[in-house]
Symmetry: C2
Subunit: 202 residues, 2 copies
Protein backbone atom coordinates (compact mmCIF):
# COMPACT_ATOMS: atom_id res chain seq x y z
CA UNK A 1 0.00 0.00 0.00
CA UNK A 2 3.04 2.25 0.24
CA UNK A 3 3.78 2.66 -3.47
CA UNK A 4 0.18 3.59 -4.29
CA UNK A 5 1.15 6.43 -6.61
CA UNK A 6 3.95 4.67 -8.37
CA UNK A 7 2.67 1.17 -8.66
CA UNK A 8 -0.98 0.85 -9.51
CA UNK A 9 -2.99 -2.05 -10.70
CA UNK A 10 -4.39 -1.79 -14.20
CA UNK A 11 -7.89 -1.84 -12.84
CA UNK A 12 -7.17 1.13 -10.60
CA UNK A 13 -5.52 3.04 -13.43
CA UNK A 14 -8.46 2.45 -15.73
CA UNK A 15 -10.95 3.40 -13.08
CA UNK A 16 -9.15 6.62 -12.24
CA UNK A 17 -8.71 7.66 -15.85
CA UNK A 18 -12.28 6.95 -16.82
CA UNK A 19 -13.55 8.78 -13.77
CA UNK A 20 -11.39 11.81 -14.48
CA UNK A 21 -12.55 11.91 -18.10
CA UNK A 22 -16.22 11.49 -17.24
CA UNK A 23 -16.17 14.09 -14.49
CA UNK A 24 -14.25 16.68 -16.46
CA UNK A 25 -16.28 16.23 -19.63
CA UNK A 26 -19.53 16.23 -17.71
CA UNK A 27 -18.80 19.74 -16.52
CA UNK A 28 -17.78 20.95 -19.97
CA UNK A 29 -20.62 19.24 -21.81
CA UNK A 30 -23.08 20.70 -19.34
CA UNK A 31 -21.70 24.21 -19.58
CA UNK A 32 -20.94 24.58 -23.27
CA UNK A 33 -22.79 21.76 -24.93
CA UNK A 34 -21.53 18.71 -26.75
CA UNK A 35 -20.69 20.41 -30.04
CA UNK A 36 -18.73 23.26 -28.48
CA UNK A 37 -16.60 21.06 -26.28
CA UNK A 38 -13.49 19.69 -27.93
CA UNK A 39 -11.51 16.66 -26.87
CA UNK A 40 -8.33 18.74 -26.35
CA UNK A 41 -10.22 20.81 -23.79
CA UNK A 42 -11.60 17.72 -22.12
CA UNK A 43 -8.28 15.97 -21.68
CA UNK A 44 -6.72 19.15 -20.43
CA UNK A 45 -9.38 19.48 -17.76
CA UNK A 46 -9.00 15.82 -16.86
CA UNK A 47 -5.19 16.03 -16.76
CA UNK A 48 -4.94 13.22 -19.26
CA UNK A 49 -3.88 12.86 -22.88
CA UNK A 50 -6.04 12.36 -25.88
CA UNK A 51 -4.46 8.99 -26.31
CA UNK A 52 -5.96 7.89 -23.00
CA UNK A 53 -9.36 9.14 -24.04
CA UNK A 54 -9.34 7.17 -27.27
CA UNK A 55 -8.00 4.15 -25.47
CA UNK A 56 -10.96 4.02 -23.10
CA UNK A 57 -13.72 5.35 -25.36
CA UNK A 58 -14.48 4.60 -28.99
CA UNK A 59 -14.96 8.27 -29.81
CA UNK A 60 -16.22 11.52 -28.37
CA UNK A 61 -19.82 10.39 -28.56
CA UNK A 62 -18.97 7.26 -26.60
CA UNK A 63 -17.56 9.34 -23.77
CA UNK A 64 -20.65 11.52 -23.92
CA UNK A 65 -22.83 8.41 -23.65
CA UNK A 66 -21.01 7.43 -20.47
CA UNK A 67 -21.63 10.89 -19.05
CA UNK A 68 -25.32 10.75 -19.92
CA UNK A 69 -25.68 7.29 -18.41
CA UNK A 70 -24.11 8.43 -15.16
CA UNK A 71 -26.33 11.47 -15.05
CA UNK A 72 -29.47 9.44 -15.71
CA UNK A 73 -28.50 7.09 -12.92
CA UNK A 74 -28.03 9.96 -10.52
CA UNK A 75 -31.49 11.29 -11.32
CA UNK A 76 -33.02 7.84 -10.94
CA UNK A 77 -31.40 7.38 -7.56
CA UNK A 78 -32.71 10.67 -6.26
CA UNK A 79 -36.20 9.76 -7.38
CA UNK A 80 -36.15 6.30 -5.88
CA UNK A 81 -34.90 7.62 -2.56
CA UNK A 82 -37.76 10.07 -2.38
CA UNK A 83 -40.50 7.56 -3.00
CA UNK A 84 -39.44 4.69 -0.77
CA UNK A 85 -41.87 5.44 2.01
CA UNK A 86 -44.94 6.69 0.25
CA UNK A 87 -48.19 5.33 1.69
CA UNK A 88 -50.15 4.98 -1.55
CA UNK A 89 -49.35 4.62 -5.20
CA UNK A 90 -50.68 8.08 -5.92
CA UNK A 91 -48.53 9.52 -3.16
CA UNK A 92 -45.48 7.77 -4.57
CA UNK A 93 -46.26 9.26 -7.95
CA UNK A 94 -46.48 12.73 -6.45
CA UNK A 95 -43.29 12.34 -4.43
CA UNK A 96 -41.47 11.00 -7.45
CA UNK A 97 -42.60 13.94 -9.53
CA UNK A 98 -41.34 16.43 -6.99
CA UNK A 99 -38.05 14.59 -6.74
CA UNK A 100 -37.74 14.62 -10.50
CA UNK A 101 -38.05 18.40 -10.60
CA UNK A 102 -35.54 18.77 -7.81
CA UNK A 103 -33.11 16.47 -9.57
CA UNK A 104 -33.46 18.21 -12.91
CA UNK A 105 -32.70 21.55 -11.28
CA UNK A 106 -29.05 20.50 -10.98
CA UNK A 107 -27.12 22.68 -13.40
CA UNK A 108 -26.55 21.20 -16.82
CA UNK A 109 -28.81 18.21 -16.41
CA UNK A 110 -31.48 19.51 -18.73
CA UNK A 111 -28.97 20.16 -21.46
CA UNK A 112 -27.30 16.78 -21.01
CA UNK A 113 -30.38 14.61 -20.70
CA UNK A 114 -33.04 16.51 -22.62
CA UNK A 115 -31.26 18.36 -25.43
CA UNK A 116 -27.82 17.09 -26.38
CA UNK A 117 -28.44 13.53 -25.27
CA UNK A 118 -31.28 12.77 -27.67
CA UNK A 119 -29.65 14.70 -30.51
CA UNK A 120 -26.21 13.12 -30.19
CA UNK A 121 -27.08 9.59 -29.13
CA UNK A 122 -30.42 9.22 -30.85
CA UNK A 123 -33.83 8.48 -29.47
CA UNK A 124 -33.33 4.74 -29.24
CA UNK A 125 -30.17 5.05 -27.16
CA UNK A 126 -31.69 7.58 -24.80
CA UNK A 127 -34.77 5.48 -24.43
CA UNK A 128 -32.65 2.49 -23.54
CA UNK A 129 -30.69 4.44 -20.97
CA UNK A 130 -33.85 5.86 -19.51
CA UNK A 131 -35.51 2.47 -19.29
CA UNK A 132 -32.45 0.98 -17.62
CA UNK A 133 -32.29 3.74 -15.01
CA UNK A 134 -35.18 5.89 -13.88
CA UNK A 135 -37.64 5.72 -16.72
CA UNK A 136 -39.18 2.60 -15.34
CA UNK A 137 -40.10 4.39 -12.15
CA UNK A 138 -42.80 6.52 -13.68
CA UNK A 139 -44.17 3.60 -15.63
CA UNK A 140 -44.29 1.42 -12.52
CA UNK A 141 -45.92 4.21 -10.59
CA UNK A 142 -48.57 4.58 -13.23
CA UNK A 143 -49.24 0.87 -13.38
CA UNK A 144 -49.75 0.81 -9.65
CA UNK A 145 -51.91 3.90 -9.61
CA UNK A 146 -53.97 3.33 -12.72
CA UNK A 147 -57.18 1.32 -12.58
CA UNK A 148 -56.39 -2.27 -13.42
CA UNK A 149 -58.80 -2.24 -16.32
CA UNK A 150 -56.50 -0.05 -18.33
CA UNK A 151 -55.12 -1.59 -21.49
CA UNK A 152 -51.49 -2.61 -20.76
CA UNK A 153 -50.29 -1.29 -24.11
CA UNK A 154 -51.83 2.05 -23.32
CA UNK A 155 -50.02 2.25 -20.00
CA UNK A 156 -46.68 2.35 -21.76
CA UNK A 157 -47.91 5.07 -24.10
CA UNK A 158 -49.34 7.04 -21.21
CA UNK A 159 -46.16 6.72 -19.19
CA UNK A 160 -44.11 7.81 -22.17
CA UNK A 161 -46.19 10.89 -22.84
CA UNK A 162 -46.49 11.77 -19.19
CA UNK A 163 -42.73 11.57 -18.93
CA UNK A 164 -42.51 13.93 -21.89
CA UNK A 165 -44.80 16.34 -20.08
CA UNK A 166 -42.57 16.18 -17.02
CA UNK A 167 -39.53 16.82 -19.16
CA UNK A 168 -41.13 19.80 -20.84
CA UNK A 169 -42.17 21.20 -17.48
CA UNK A 170 -38.63 20.91 -16.19
CA UNK A 171 -37.37 22.70 -19.26
CA UNK A 172 -39.89 25.49 -18.93
CA UNK A 173 -39.20 25.97 -15.25
CA UNK A 174 -35.47 26.09 -15.89
CA UNK A 175 -36.17 28.71 -18.57
CA UNK A 176 -37.92 30.90 -16.05
CA UNK A 177 -41.56 29.85 -16.22
CA UNK A 178 -43.63 29.88 -13.06
CA UNK A 179 -43.19 26.48 -11.42
CA UNK A 180 -46.62 26.64 -9.80
CA UNK A 181 -48.49 26.74 -13.10
CA UNK A 182 -46.70 23.66 -14.36
CA UNK A 183 -46.93 21.76 -11.10
CA UNK A 184 -50.63 22.41 -10.80
CA UNK A 185 -51.34 21.55 -14.39
CA UNK A 186 -49.36 18.40 -14.00
CA UNK A 187 -51.38 17.46 -10.95
CA UNK A 188 -54.51 18.11 -12.96
CA UNK A 189 -53.26 15.77 -15.63
CA UNK A 190 -52.23 13.01 -13.28
CA UNK A 191 -55.39 13.27 -11.26
CA UNK A 192 -57.47 13.11 -14.40
CA UNK A 193 -55.70 9.92 -15.39
CA UNK A 194 -55.39 8.19 -12.08
CA UNK A 195 -58.79 9.39 -11.03
CA UNK A 196 -58.43 11.35 -7.87
CA UNK A 197 -61.27 10.01 -5.71
CA UNK A 198 -61.89 13.43 -4.24
CA UNK A 199 -62.74 14.93 -7.60
CA UNK A 200 -63.84 12.21 -9.94
CA UNK A 201 -65.32 9.24 -8.15
CA UNK A 202 -65.82 6.27 -10.41
Amino acid sequence: MQEKNIRQSNQARTEATRKALIQASRMLFAEKGYADTGTPEIVKAAAVTRGALYHHFRDKADLFAAVVRAEAEAVANEIEESAVDAPTAAAALAAGGAAYFAAMAAPGRIRLLLFDGPAVLGHAAIRKIDAATGGGALRDGLIAALPKTTDPASVDALADMLSAAFDRAAIAIAAGAAPAAYRESLCLLVDALVGDPKKNPR
Copy 2:
Protein backbone atom coordinates in the same frame (compact mmCIF):
# COMPACT_ATOMS: atom_id res chain seq x y z
CA MET B 1 -36.26 33.83 -72.27
CA GLN B 2 -32.77 33.13 -73.48
CA GLU B 3 -30.93 35.72 -71.43
CA LYS B 4 -32.76 34.90 -68.21
CA ASN B 5 -29.75 33.03 -67.01
CA ILE B 6 -27.38 35.82 -67.89
CA ARG B 7 -29.24 38.87 -66.68
CA GLN B 8 -31.02 38.54 -63.36
CA SER B 9 -32.12 41.04 -60.77
CA ASN B 10 -30.33 40.88 -57.47
CA GLN B 11 -33.55 39.98 -55.74
CA ALA B 12 -34.07 37.03 -58.04
CA ARG B 13 -30.48 35.88 -57.63
CA THR B 14 -30.72 36.05 -53.87
CA GLU B 15 -34.03 34.24 -53.83
CA ALA B 16 -32.77 31.45 -56.06
CA THR B 17 -29.56 30.97 -54.11
CA ARG B 18 -31.24 30.94 -50.75
CA LYS B 19 -33.89 28.54 -51.98
CA ALA B 20 -31.28 26.19 -53.42
CA LEU B 21 -29.30 26.22 -50.20
CA ILE B 22 -32.33 25.69 -47.99
CA GLN B 23 -33.74 22.89 -50.10
CA ALA B 24 -30.45 21.04 -50.49
CA SER B 25 -29.49 21.38 -46.84
CA ARG B 26 -32.95 20.42 -45.68
CA MET B 27 -32.56 17.07 -47.36
CA LEU B 28 -29.05 16.50 -45.97
CA PHE B 29 -29.85 17.72 -42.46
CA ALA B 30 -32.90 15.47 -42.42
CA GLU B 31 -31.04 12.41 -43.65
CA LYS B 32 -27.73 12.64 -41.83
CA GLY B 33 -28.32 15.12 -39.06
CA TYR B 34 -26.87 18.57 -38.49
CA ALA B 35 -23.50 17.49 -37.12
CA ASP B 36 -22.76 15.00 -39.88
CA THR B 37 -23.59 17.38 -42.70
CA GLY B 38 -20.72 19.60 -43.78
CA THR B 39 -20.99 22.85 -45.66
CA PRO B 40 -18.90 21.51 -48.57
CA GLU B 41 -21.48 18.79 -49.07
CA ILE B 42 -24.34 21.28 -48.83
CA VAL B 43 -23.00 23.68 -51.42
CA LYS B 44 -22.19 20.81 -53.74
CA ALA B 45 -25.79 19.58 -53.54
CA ALA B 46 -27.07 23.11 -54.05
CA ALA B 47 -24.72 23.76 -56.97
CA VAL B 48 -23.36 26.83 -55.24
CA THR B 49 -20.07 27.82 -53.62
CA ARG B 50 -19.31 28.13 -49.94
CA GLY B 51 -18.80 31.82 -50.53
CA ALA B 52 -22.45 32.16 -51.47
CA LEU B 53 -23.53 30.29 -48.37
CA TYR B 54 -21.57 32.55 -46.06
CA HIS B 55 -22.80 35.59 -47.95
CA HIS B 56 -26.44 34.77 -47.27
CA PHE B 57 -26.17 33.10 -43.88
CA ARG B 58 -24.12 34.05 -40.86
CA ASP B 59 -22.94 30.49 -40.32
CA LYS B 60 -24.03 26.90 -40.66
CA ALA B 61 -26.42 27.20 -37.72
CA ASP B 62 -28.07 30.22 -39.35
CA LEU B 63 -28.82 28.19 -42.46
CA PHE B 64 -30.12 25.41 -40.28
CA ALA B 65 -32.42 27.87 -38.52
CA ALA B 66 -33.88 28.88 -41.88
CA VAL B 67 -34.53 25.24 -42.69
CA VAL B 68 -36.21 24.62 -39.35
CA ARG B 69 -38.36 27.72 -39.71
CA ALA B 70 -39.55 26.64 -43.14
CA GLU B 71 -40.31 23.17 -41.87
CA ALA B 72 -42.25 24.49 -38.88
CA GLU B 73 -44.29 26.69 -41.18
CA ALA B 74 -45.11 23.75 -43.41
CA VAL B 75 -46.36 21.76 -40.45
CA ALA B 76 -48.39 24.70 -39.20
CA ASN B 77 -50.02 25.16 -42.58
CA GLU B 78 -51.03 21.53 -42.80
CA ILE B 79 -52.59 21.73 -39.36
CA GLU B 80 -54.48 24.91 -40.03
CA GLU B 81 -55.88 23.57 -43.28
CA SER B 82 -57.22 20.52 -41.52
CA ALA B 83 -59.06 22.38 -38.80
CA VAL B 84 -60.74 25.15 -40.77
CA ASP B 85 -64.17 23.58 -40.85
CA ALA B 86 -64.45 21.85 -37.53
CA PRO B 87 -67.86 22.24 -35.90
CA THR B 88 -66.77 22.47 -32.27
CA ALA B 89 -63.62 23.42 -30.43
CA ALA B 90 -63.09 19.84 -29.34
CA ALA B 91 -63.47 18.65 -32.90
CA ALA B 92 -60.94 21.20 -34.08
CA LEU B 93 -58.54 19.95 -31.45
CA ALA B 94 -58.99 16.37 -32.62
CA ALA B 95 -58.61 17.27 -36.28
CA GLY B 96 -55.54 19.32 -35.52
CA GLY B 97 -54.01 16.45 -33.61
CA ALA B 98 -54.53 14.05 -36.46
CA ALA B 99 -53.11 16.55 -38.90
CA TYR B 100 -50.09 17.01 -36.67
CA PHE B 101 -49.33 13.31 -36.76
CA ALA B 102 -49.75 13.22 -40.51
CA ALA B 103 -47.46 16.19 -40.93
CA MET B 104 -44.78 14.78 -38.65
CA ALA B 105 -44.74 11.57 -40.63
CA ALA B 106 -42.95 13.38 -43.44
CA PRO B 107 -39.42 11.99 -43.52
CA GLY B 108 -36.86 13.92 -41.55
CA ARG B 109 -39.28 16.25 -39.80
CA ILE B 110 -38.90 14.63 -36.43
CA ARG B 111 -35.15 14.87 -36.57
CA LEU B 112 -35.23 18.46 -37.78
CA LEU B 113 -37.89 19.82 -35.45
CA LEU B 114 -37.67 17.60 -32.40
CA PHE B 115 -34.03 16.52 -32.08
CA ASP B 116 -31.48 18.64 -33.89
CA GLY B 117 -33.54 21.82 -33.78
CA PRO B 118 -33.69 22.15 -29.99
CA ALA B 119 -30.10 20.98 -29.54
CA VAL B 120 -28.55 23.26 -32.16
CA LEU B 121 -30.71 26.36 -31.85
CA GLY B 122 -31.60 26.14 -28.19
CA HIS B 123 -34.91 25.90 -26.46
CA ALA B 124 -35.67 29.61 -26.61
CA ALA B 125 -35.19 29.83 -30.36
CA ILE B 126 -37.28 26.76 -31.05
CA ARG B 127 -39.99 28.04 -28.77
CA LYS B 128 -40.02 31.33 -30.63
CA ILE B 129 -40.26 29.61 -33.99
CA ASP B 130 -42.98 27.35 -32.72
CA ALA B 131 -45.00 30.20 -31.28
CA ALA B 132 -44.67 32.17 -34.52
CA THR B 133 -45.86 29.27 -36.62
CA GLY B 134 -47.99 26.36 -35.45
CA GLY B 135 -47.45 26.29 -31.72
CA GLY B 136 -50.16 28.83 -31.16
CA ALA B 137 -52.71 26.55 -32.75
CA LEU B 138 -52.77 24.03 -29.95
CA ARG B 139 -52.84 26.74 -27.33
CA ASP B 140 -55.75 28.49 -29.05
CA GLY B 141 -57.55 25.19 -29.41
CA LEU B 142 -57.13 24.47 -25.74
CA ILE B 143 -58.32 27.92 -24.73
CA ALA B 144 -61.43 27.46 -26.79
CA ALA B 145 -62.08 23.95 -25.54
CA LEU B 146 -61.15 24.34 -21.89
CA PRO B 147 -63.73 25.44 -19.37
CA LYS B 148 -63.48 29.18 -18.98
CA THR B 149 -62.85 28.87 -15.29
CA THR B 150 -59.37 27.56 -15.93
CA ASP B 151 -56.57 29.72 -14.68
CA PRO B 152 -55.11 31.54 -17.72
CA ALA B 153 -51.55 30.96 -16.59
CA SER B 154 -52.24 27.26 -16.36
CA VAL B 155 -53.56 27.14 -19.89
CA ASP B 156 -50.15 28.02 -21.27
CA ALA B 157 -48.52 25.37 -19.13
CA LEU B 158 -51.09 22.81 -20.14
CA ALA B 159 -50.72 23.64 -23.80
CA ASP B 160 -46.96 23.38 -23.49
CA MET B 161 -47.03 20.01 -21.84
CA LEU B 162 -49.73 18.67 -24.10
CA SER B 163 -47.64 19.72 -27.05
CA ALA B 164 -44.74 17.82 -25.55
CA ALA B 165 -46.95 14.76 -25.27
CA PHE B 166 -47.90 15.10 -28.94
CA ASP B 167 -44.25 15.41 -29.86
CA ARG B 168 -43.29 12.34 -27.89
CA ALA B 169 -46.15 10.39 -29.46
CA ALA B 170 -44.97 11.37 -32.93
CA ILE B 171 -41.45 10.25 -32.04
CA ALA B 172 -42.64 6.93 -30.66
CA ILE B 173 -44.84 6.23 -33.65
CA ALA B 174 -42.01 7.05 -36.01
CA ALA B 175 -39.85 4.64 -34.02
CA GLY B 176 -42.32 1.85 -34.59
CA ALA B 177 -44.70 2.05 -31.65
CA ALA B 178 -48.33 1.19 -32.19
CA PRO B 179 -50.08 4.40 -33.23
CA ALA B 180 -53.39 3.28 -31.75
CA ALA B 181 -52.05 3.12 -28.20
CA TYR B 182 -50.71 6.65 -28.39
CA ARG B 183 -53.74 8.09 -30.15
CA GLU B 184 -56.11 6.55 -27.64
CA SER B 185 -54.05 7.60 -24.66
CA LEU B 186 -53.85 11.07 -26.07
CA CYS B 187 -57.62 11.18 -26.42
CA LEU B 188 -57.87 10.04 -22.84
CA LEU B 189 -55.63 12.89 -21.79
CA VAL B 190 -57.40 15.53 -23.81
CA ASP B 191 -60.81 14.31 -22.74
CA ALA B 192 -59.73 14.36 -19.14
CA LEU B 193 -58.68 17.97 -19.51
CA VAL B 194 -61.41 19.31 -21.71
CA GLY B 195 -63.96 17.26 -19.90
CA ASP B 196 -65.67 15.01 -22.37
CA PRO B 197 -69.35 15.37 -21.47
CA LYS B 198 -70.01 11.74 -22.30
CA LYS B 199 -67.65 10.47 -19.66
CA ASN B 200 -67.15 13.09 -17.03
CA PRO B 201 -70.10 15.45 -16.70
CA ARG B 202 -69.35 18.49 -14.59
